[in-house]
Amino acid sequence: MKKTVDVSIPIGPVHPCFKEPARVKCETRGEYVLSAECELGYMKKGIELIMRGRPWQEVMFLAERICGICSVIHNMVFIEALEKISDIPVPERGALLRVIVNELDRMQSHILANFSYCYTIEHETLGMYLLDIRESAMDELERITGARVTCAYIVPGGVRFDLRDEDAVHLRASLDIIERDMKRYIRMFEGGPLIALRSKDVGVLTKESAKEAHAVGPTARASGMPETDMRLHHPTYQKLNFKPVFRTEGDNFARIMVRFEEIMQSIDLIRRCLDMLRPGPIRGGGIPSAGETVYRGEAPRGELSYYLKTDDAGRIVDISVQTPSIMNIEACTHYMLKGVASLADVPSTFISADPCIACTER
């Protein structure tokens, strides 16, 4: 039977709601979206090709610039893959500092994602509140690492700079402020009746379709799949007794709430790390050796995996990156957007999966 399609509407590549260029093609009957498709290809830079034949000190910066929002986790996964190949030990203080910086980065990324969602459903007040509180997290990142976005903090065998005592005091104070304000914003988001109208039961991703689309990260955890969190397999997080948060509704509201709860969890994780910090060395040195490995880590958007092959002088021979957004975009366009009642919900549903186009295309 031939499918009757009224209009095919493209959204993007330059659209007020999208931070990055992507084109979503929607086939609609009236306002009802029958099917959607995401067209990529505006950001392909060929980073993996450039990375080949270079030593770690150059690839580290290229890996960081795969994605500017979640740069710390790209840095961390690449360096930890290198450490796994060459058996480089990491001192305990260095490992804890990595977790602190990684969780700060996750916080700012989640706040930014929730800001974009609030902006897309035209709740600008909450969006601006979130952007304001994000600056506190960015300040702490800058205070510890020296840069706001591309921190370049993690090196083989440890980290670059130590956390000073006065910075630790400042970090705790900022965490208190973020926790106090974030509780209020979560209450606003949960209690707002207009937000509920725009987000509850919109863009539902059931557990079965999440499995079918291989959704990862908060998108999967909002559909009731806590085991997708790769932090469960990380040794430092295991020491911190990490338990992933999850919800079972699978709609836009659940995805945003999972991010809010992960922000609170990150605050808790950073506090526990600060309690566990003992004075000691922060880096141990170590030169990469030849080998081949696959290493996975949990980016703010989901599971990030690096396939890495080095030669005996520590140069990268082959590298292949799988970023979380490609699966989430797939899940978003094929399952969530199908059956969205109104075209106005298409950008907000797309943003609720937090797609990162720079990651996806590299």
Partner: protein
């Protein structure tokens, strides 16, 4: 004439609409432009509105190292912006290609080969304050004596 003109210049410099286009960056500069919206920096107090709509923009912030996907699109986007218009290159990517400008990469910097660039903000990524200062320094120049220049 001149009093009216200077009054116009003054008023128009406080009403600037900004669009940004990402032609293949790492996203770092995008979120720094977004951070300019934050109440900490508050770009809107200077009368600058980030709408991301080329049809009503005066200033175009170009971010990224010009990937092949934008070959024919960036020029079209630039022509859609009504006169007067300026473009600012944000970050290293549109200036030099940053770390991506290596053999075998797909990027084709600098962006000034494709559209005229009025100002540059170096840094990878630049801080929001630097972006803000660049936009603020260019804001009075966009509409200055526009009627006289048009004639």
């Amino acid at each position: 004439m001149s009093i009216l003109q200077s009054f116009k210049n003054l008023v128009r410099s406080r009403s600037i609409h900004v669009a940004y286009v990402d032609v293949g960056s790492c996203n770092g500069c995008d979120i720094e432009v977004l951070a300019c919206l934050a109440p900490r920096y508050d770009i809107e107090q200077y009368g600058i509105y980030v709408h991301n709509n080329p049809r009503e923009a005066d200033i175009l912030l170009v971010i990224g190292a010009y990937t092949p996907g934008w070959e024919d699109k960036l020029q079209g986007l630039w022509e859609k912006i009504p006169d007067p218009k300026v473009a600012i290159a944000i970050g290293n990517c549109p200036i030099s290609g940053c770390v991506f400008n290596r053999p075998h990469s797909y990027v084709n910097p600098p962006v000034s080969k494709h559209i005229p660039i009025a100002a540059q903000v170096p840094g990878c990524p630049p801080r929001p304050t630097e972006i803000l200062q660049a936009v603020l320094s260019l804001a009075p120049e966009v509409f200055k004596d526009y009627e006289r220049r048009k004639r």
